[in-house]
Amino acid sequence: MLFLTLNLRLSTARLATAVAVLALLLLVWRPRALRSDNFVFYSPHGHDVVPAQMIGREEYLPLIQVLNAVGSVSGWQEKQKSIVVYFGSVHVEVHRDDVKVKVDKRQVVLPAPVRVSNGQWMVPLSFLQLALPKMVPQQLNYRVGSGRLFIGDVSPASFTVSLKSLPGGSRLSLDFTSAVKLKTVSQNGKYVLFLGDHPVEPLEKSFHFQDPYVTDLTFDDQDGKPKLIVTPGSLGLNFYPSEAADGKTLLVDLAKPGTALPLQGTTSAQGSVSHPGPAPRTAAPAAAPLPAGAPSKATNLATANPATAPPEPTLPAMVLDPGHGAEDSGARSRDGVLEKDLAAQIEDRVRAALLAAHDYRVVLTRVGDTNPDLDARDAIANVTRPVAFLSLHAGNYGTSGPRVVVYTYRFPAPPALLPVETRSPAFVPWDEVQRSHLDRSRELAQALETQFATLPGVATSPPQEAPVLVLRGVDAPAVAVEVGSLSPDVDAGLLSDPGFQERLSAAITQAIMIFGRGPAKP
């Protein structure tokens, strides 16, 4: 023991140095957010996929891989703080943590410095715009933020999207600037349409639809294979992709089981009819079948292509607001049912029923698993000047059975403290705008409560007032419906039952219809 102590004393200086170095490392060390997106380089001979990496707030690409994707690296000389890469007839020199890049004798200054990560020399994306064109004779085509670069004669195809409601289903039409080859597979309840080897540069990466049959269309070429991913509105729909106009138009029909496919005559059918992966369940769209041959009044269009068919917002808007979304999952039951999912499921059914009735166009404050903030939700509602705004929630009501409560907004301070009458009616403050709609909001709440009271086995109570913030900025009659109990102490039970959700949604739809007929007569 004495021996050990002695030796420790002798090496105190070394230990102190080691600990000090470690401490310094810990202080300097910052966690880095890594992302595994890919960047695709398309050339006339094929494509190269280069992994991108986030360092700090900048996206970086490995220098050697980038140069090899664009041309051919013949060698490099690496020092501790710099590297010189011999690339074709030029050489490029970069320095660690330095924004200056030397191409032969010309100097380029990048907005972000060159980094070294895991032994790789990394250049920021701006290198592609500022330095790379000085190094290669070919033309480079790169749109900032797109994640792909086209080299030389490669001319990518582009496309426009439109969505049309047809009896019993919906049709997505995609018009490409050049022909594509279609191959369809289904994965995880979604349909993947491979578009062949021809590079594609979409104008937008994803399109969202307010439609019971299709909710999202997303373009992806992260692996160098251009493809479109179609997310159906519910499971169990029939899917029928086909090509038209010599491969320049792609038609995708999604329809309820039992509907004849294709929905309307198509020129050719080279795609396959398939069901998404999981077994179809009972959650078929709740919409009543449209009368055959009847023109659909509610035509929903992708926002990406207003020129294809201009929107005709002739129907009054009804705003549905499924609460929460994305990382904010809201309340959670003991068996793992999340409020955000439950709200979206009920919204889905109400939306389908409203669209089927052809009295309203439905506006959603969120599509898919996203979470716009409360002001954004109100803004989405207010620009459509809706008939009403309905926010859907689920919450804790102890261990009691199914319960539905309707809320209108209650201002935390009494109206007497905030004399709105003295303010100019032309400029109503955002947080005061609901005040003038409170009477109609209460009428909507009463209409809903009356319908809920008819549901067997469901406890209801008279409409309540609460400071539910999402209602405050709505310039229309606005209510929040909360179902329960979604509590960590109990299972969701009936709340997640499709039959219960269907009855609840029918009651909500019925109440909206009654409310839409106008103010109650005294």
Binding site: S11, A23, A331, Y397, L469
Partner: protein
């Protein structure tokens, strides 16, 4: 390798590992401001709230959410009563955090940590909670409403100087408590939520 060198190497490795772990934990605490666990929070609340107790006891009325969250129910209990109003506010909030003695629901989770209390001359109490309050809170329109009004009604019922309550989170004005209830203004007591003795 001699025995002596081996000992020295082992000792150096042990010290390095120990030192690294210690420094790492220090760095973690410095960057992440780890709050104390439930028990320490409770202890701090208790200490802060009960320190100025004057030895006087008072029968107070507390509002708790009913079992089915349909409204508020009251409980009366005798508890130490501080000399100043801000300390009384802390005592009442602490009693709400501790929960009901009967089978009512807890309005505030055990992790609720009150950072500061201010009482302005116009009768507004500012309750500044740390974000820890959100960890054990059951989100929902009704449950958040009852959480807010259990505090507002309990404070107003027992401390005459309290007219309204403004809730802050982490020293800042928050939009909502946990996604639902509007915290941008102060709350006045609301007797419509019930308050029958149970």
């Amino acid at each position: 390798m001699t025995r002596r060198t081996l000992f020295v190497a082992l000792a150096v490795v042990a010290v390095l590992i120990g030192g690294f772990s210690y420094l790492r934990s220090l760095a973690w605490r410095a960057f992440h401001e780890i709050q104390g666990g439930e028990e320490s929070v409770h202890a701090r609340l208790k200490q802060e709230a009960l320190q100025p107790a004057s030895g006087v006891k008072q029968v107070i009325t507390l509002y708790f959410p009913a079992d089915d969250e349909s409204g508020l129910v009251t409980e009366t209990r005798e508890m130490p009563w501080a000399a100043t109003d801000p300390d009384r506010v802390r005592e009442i909030v602490l009693a709400l955090v501790e929960g009901p003695t009967k089978t009512h629901n807890r309005p505030l989770p055990p992790s609720a940590d009150i950072r500061a209390v201010f009482l302005t001359p116009d009768g507004t109490v500012y309750l500044d909670f740390s974000n820890e309050i959100l960890k054990g809170l059951a989100p929902g329109i009704q449950s958040e409403t009852l959480t807010v009004y259990s505090m507002v009604n309990s404070l107003a019922a027992n401390i005459p100087a309290v007219k309204q309550v403004k809730i802050l989170l982490q020293g800042q004005e928050a939009e909502t408590l946990d996604g639902h209830i509007d915290l941008t203004e102060s709350f006045e007591p609301d007797t419509s939520l019930g308050g029958k003795t149970n």
